[in-house]
């Protein structure tokens, strides 16, 4: 294709990109309009100036700083614990090659694909009985196990390829299993572990169902739960709705920009293994 045809394809792809990003632009534009400006000019006009009161009002009304903190605590804890568990499991399955490893892997994989609804009520019931209901610890424990199930599956495949010579050399030097794991396997697998860490963090940040049923009080809620529960409340006008959408978008996009390289690499690693 030459001449105008060559640009036509690019143009069509660019138009689609604009359509995909349009909601982001619209949310950003309207989150900084005053309700008066919104009602006279509508959602499509460029903002006259920066009206930040809507954002500020929403921020304080829902204690958004608190929600961010809750999301952060839960996501970081789950990411760290799930990576630790995944490494321990994958060490036993990928390097240790213990008996029945295949059935254990299948079991973990099934657990990861199981709908959470099929665990939800018993977990809710057990959490209440254990006094963990409406605590972040409950969400952290459950999410850690579910994420680690996937991490185990992925890491076992990676560690299955681990060069045996290095481990044998370490054993001759008198390194025990724990030392071999900590001083050889973990440092060498660090790139994969970082990918897992970032993925677990973002998946947990985005998680909705479990936090929704476990975290019912205002002090424990995460960002997605707080925003979703407020959706459609009476006090929400157009500006405040877009302000709430913007506050949900900003952290997610920030993580995307920070971790972009790891993420695009990781999406494909995770999908194909």
């Amino acid at each position: 294709m030459r001449g105008p045809g060559r640009w036509a394809v690019l143009f069509a792809l660019a138009v689609l990109a604009v359509v995909m990003l349009f909601p982001f632009a619209l949310v950003a534009m309207n989150a900084v309009k005053s309700p008066a400006e919104y009602s006279t000019q509508g959602p499509l006009s460029l903002p006259d100036g920066l009206y930040l009161q809507g954002l500020a009002d929403f921020w304080t009304r829902v204690d958004f700083a608190g929600k961010l903190w809750n999301s952060l605590v839960i996501s970081v804890s789950v990411a760290v614990f799930a990576v630790v568990l995944s490494v321990l499991n994958a060490y036993a399955l990928g390097i240790g090659r213990i008996r029945g490893r295949l059935s254990i892997l299948v079991l973990f994989l099934v657990a990861n694909t199981l709908p959470q609804e099929a665990l939800a009520y018993p977990l809710y019931y057990l959490a209440k009985a254990a006094g963990l209901y409406d605590t972040q610890l409950a969400v952290i424990i459950v999410m850690t196990v579910i994420q680690a199930a996937f991490g185990t599956y992925l890491l076992s495949a990676v560690l299955g390829q681990f060069p045996k010579e290095i481990l044998e050399a370490a054993a001759i030097d008198g390194a025990g299993r724990l030392r071999a794991l900590w001083q050889i396997v973990v440092p060498i697998s660090r790139p994969t572990l970082n990918v897992l860490l970032i993925f677990f963090f973002i998946w947990t940040w985005n998680e909705f169902f479990l936090p929704l049923i476990f975290l019912i009080s205002n002090d424990t809620q995460t960002v997605p739960v707080a925003l979703a529960v407020l959706q459609g409340e009476k006090f929400m006008d157009a500006t405040m709705s877009s302000a709430s959408a913007l506050l949900g978008i900003v952290p997610a996009v920030a993580f995307f920009l920070i971790f972009q390289r790891t993420l695009t690499r990781g999406v494909t690693v995770g999908a194909i293994k």
Partner: protein, 287 residues
Amino acid sequence: MRVRTRGYWLYLAPSLVLFVVVVVVPFLMNVGASFTRWSGVGTPRWIGFDNYARLLRDERFWQSFQHNVGLIVAMAVVPTAIGLVLASALFDYVAKRFGTRTAATLRAMYYLPQVLPVAVAGVVWGWMLHPSYGAVNQIFHLDLDWLGDPDLALATVMAVMVWFQLGYPVVIFMAGLQRVDPAYYEAAEIDGASWFRKFWHITIPQIRPEIFVVLLTCTIAALKVFGPIFVLTRGGPGNATMVPSYFSYLNFFQKSNVGYGSAVATVLALIIIVVTFLFLRVQERAQ
């Protein structure tokens, strides 16, 4: 020298304990509860298969699975089809003529909705589709109640999900295309093959494993879908967008029909496991 593997069980122990507590026991409890009538408090009463018999007669249950089929189309089939064309166009057209940076930028733009928590994506569209102050009606000079009209609600949710999902297959397929030996394309070009012939006879067969993975993961996601339904429609209006996951949630936490909700969740879990195994079998045979 035989390597002793027994000591490695120690490393698996913490996970296995947690796994039993968090997954195995709750799942068995859920299956157990599905054979009872139970409000969540007091003693569950054993009723055998009554809940399942009731499910078969319950119109809402059947409708919720029909809606799932629509969501599989919106979340798996359509994004895969469009994603194939986009990935192929970006990979062997844009990247070659306008540089890999342009292709990578476009790919990132398509992918951006995927980074949002799905509940936040719902908040964004809930605002855009609002019947009185929403942007969509203003742009197209319409006066539609996108999510409140029973004839329109499911189609609207489906459109939102296409927007949300599209970036995932594009990223996966572009990565897959990097594996493909360029010699195939060069040979085809020498033979004067059109873009479509190359797409059909080289691109699709070569990245078949990626296509399977995307279809499988997206189909499972569509069967499990909860967040967007909760935020956008709560299953309504009427039952217009009811899905099994939301239906079981409703029975658990609002109607105090824990036994019935458990039966719905058990059926959903079985369907997902069967779908997974079927996909993996087909994939095995195809390779």
